[in-house]
Amino acid sequence: MAITLLRPFGPLLLGGVVGFGLTAPSNAAEELRIGYVAPTTGIFAQVGKDMVDGFQMYLDDVKGDFGGAKVKFIVEDEQAKPDTAVTRAKKLILQDKVHMLVGGLLASSGYALAPVSTADKTVYVVPVSAADDLTQRDLSKFPYMVRTGWSSSQPSHPFGQWACEQGYKKIVAIGADYAFGYEVVGGFQRAFEACGGQIIQKIWPPLGAKDFGPYIPTIKAEADAIFSLMVGPMSLQFPKQLAASGNKKPVIGGGTSYDEFVLPSMGDEVIGHVSALQYSAALENPKNEAFVKKYRTKYGKVPSYYSETNYTTAQMIHEVIKANNGNFPGLEAFVKQLAAIKVDSIRGPVSIDEMRNPVQNIYIKKVEKKKMFGYDKDELWNTVIKTYANVNQFGQFNKDEFLKTPVYNRDYPPCKFCN
């Protein structure tokens, strides 16, 4: 058995094998090395796959050529563990000598990778991690980071306004009990209460809860609507259990409650539910239609926002490199140029604000069962019913006042109307 050889010389042998196995990266001037960190194994493997597939699809579309530079796309597995993400990032930076680091799924990964980019002076592009403070109160700690995806509360701000326009006065919020949940709900609460609405109750089922039995009966009867923020398996179960409990109130929610990652597995109980996000696979523009069709043919599923944001991120990087004639312009220049980019993407026009977070359309989408894009089956789609253009991370609120208040958490904004 090969293992027999390892014995006490384990560390020695391993080091030796490893040492020989490594090769220095080529120093081709026209090679652009992009290091990508995503969970490719473990329980988030499918999300990680969507992320990588989205980015890869853009690379395939441009045949791996960014304005003359050949892209070397190196993917490392973070297993959705922040310390593994850090180790991977270090490997990409120190060993593979990547020009930039892209990726990270969870907020914790984003917070783990951002300091690495500062310490090791590498660009970090964030397509998915949505933790608000990365580009708000903590921004100054990460001078080489640019976010190209979204911030958690970004869609909630216009959504709160929309809720007022529907005539809702009292809403009960139920959201997964962790930072992302707090931020999505918090943004909605701030916006909804600013235009005269009231959040009369906030319920926080633990992340991963699937039995909403304890929570649904506590929903206050006088609510006009229910706002839910669910992720992953929670998104599948909550609407079912809510419907089975006899709920007749309108249901609205955060973007991840109904995004295309979970929508294919949902049933008719979610028809009519409204949510807000910067992307919907049902966006009726030619770019999106082509993207959806191509993605579905290649990967067998409708693209989720994870795929789209990575595709668009690749596009943005491409634009910057193209503007530099296929050369990487150096750390600070790249960050500056990426932060000034404007693209016409699948999800509409996207630019980056002065705090390095995207400014983009937010789509209010409603779940409908219909045929789209020439597919012959009736399926669930997130039909866009309203578009708010040019929404930045502070929405309709003044940036300085916003930043003076604490980050959205369980107790902020305080629940003034909770009896």
């Binding site: 006490p8 560390p11 020695l12 030796g16 490997k91 914790s108 700690k141």
Partner: protein
């Protein structure tokens, strides 16, 4: 005790090799080696309980966690532990790990075998629950980021320097544990592992012995946590997950429980497989799972037990010649 001396020589040689070779590889490998060594301290503490005292614990990650969170919270909220006061944090981590073990031990030590396994699992999960929920203290699932490594004359941000520091702690821990298991106290632990009832009849306070061993394991766990926090630079509830404790236990078994060094070898192998194989092939989990299963099935004494088994097999084939001459023993 020639055997023993040979073993010691091998360990010293391996450590020396580590100290010399690793810094000459690249930063990534240095970081990896640092991580393994920091975690190996935890694995050795698991082995102390499993291999020497006969207590299989599925909750040791809790002690790493308290050490790590203490370090992270002091560093970020109070700017403490980033200079010479780093050493105070080390002491703090050790004490905190020991204190937690003292509390948990009161609940756990009464049980043995698989019951002990279950209760340590439950206790570990309690700590996980706290790390997850106590947002104001632990930042919940976002985790706490330690922005920088301590500087006290030497700059620990330098990977090589930090590696030597962790290696130093590791060697000291190994020495301390080695001395402990060869001491009268350690020998009585082994006695308890073999025949607890007999030890009690002989007048040993077995409960107390086990309790103290548990506390010592907790102390080392806390130490490994302090180092772990600075190695990765981030502490999150992931570090208290059940899988983390299981990792440590499996590493100890893989390498060979009851050998201290076995756990270290197990740690190197598992980390190596995980970090390295995963960059090459997507099915590394099968390899890892397969390695565990095969080891448990065919190498119950772990990798360190291989020489002994070879020796036994040789002895058996040697004896077989003589056995034919001896009359069968009546049952």
């Amino acid at each position: 005790m020639r055997n023993q001396q040979v073993k010691i020589l091998l360990v010293v040689a391996a450590l020396a090799a580590l100290a010399i070779i690793v810094p000459n590889t690249n930063s990534f490998l240095i970081l990896l080696a640092t991580r393994v060594l920091a975690f190996a301290i935890l694995v050795m503490s698991v082995d102390l309980l499993l291999g020497y005292t006969g207590l299989p614990s599925l909750g040791q990650a809790a002690y790493l966690a308290v050490g790590a969170y203490l370090t992270a919270i002091l560093a970020t909220k109070y700017q403490f532990g980033l200079g010479y006061d780093f050493w105070l944090v080390v002491v703090g981590g050790i004490l905190l790990g020991a204190a937690l073990a003292a509390v948990f031990g009161l609940l756990a030590i009464r049980a043995t075998g698989v019951y002990f396994l279950m209760i340590t699992l439950a206790l570990g999960q309690c700590v996980w629950g706290l790390a997850y929920r106590w947002n104001s203290l632990t930042n919940g699932d976002n985790g706490i980021n330690l922005r920088q490594r301590p500087q006290f004359g030497i700059d620990l941000a330098n990977e090589v320097t930090f590696f030597y520091l962790v290696l130093g702690f590791f060697v000291v821990s190994l020495l301390l544990l080695y001395t402990l298991v060869r001491s009268p106290f350690g020998l009585s632990l082994a006695g308890i592992r073999e025949r607890e009832l007999r030890m009690r009849i002989l007048g040993y306070n077995t409960w107390l012995h086990k309790y103290i061993a548990f506390i010592i394991a907790g102390a080392f766990g806390g130490l490994s946590g302090v180092l772990w926090a600075h190695t990765a630079g981030i502490v999150s509830p992931v570090n208290v997950e059940l899988a983390f404790s299981v990792d440590a236990l499996l590493m100890a078994v893989l390498g060979g429980s009851g050998t201290l060094v076995g756990g270290v070898i197990g740690a190197f192998i598992v980390f190596g497989l995980r970090e390295y194989l995963s960059t090459l092939v997507p099915w590394w989990q099968y390899v890892l799972g397969g390695v565990y299963v095969l080891t448990i099935l065919y190498l119950p004494t772990g990798l360190m037990g291989i020489p002994e088994r070879i020796r036994q097999r040789r002895a058996r084939t040697g004896n077989r010649e003589e056995e034919k001459e001896i009359a069968p023993v009546t049952p």
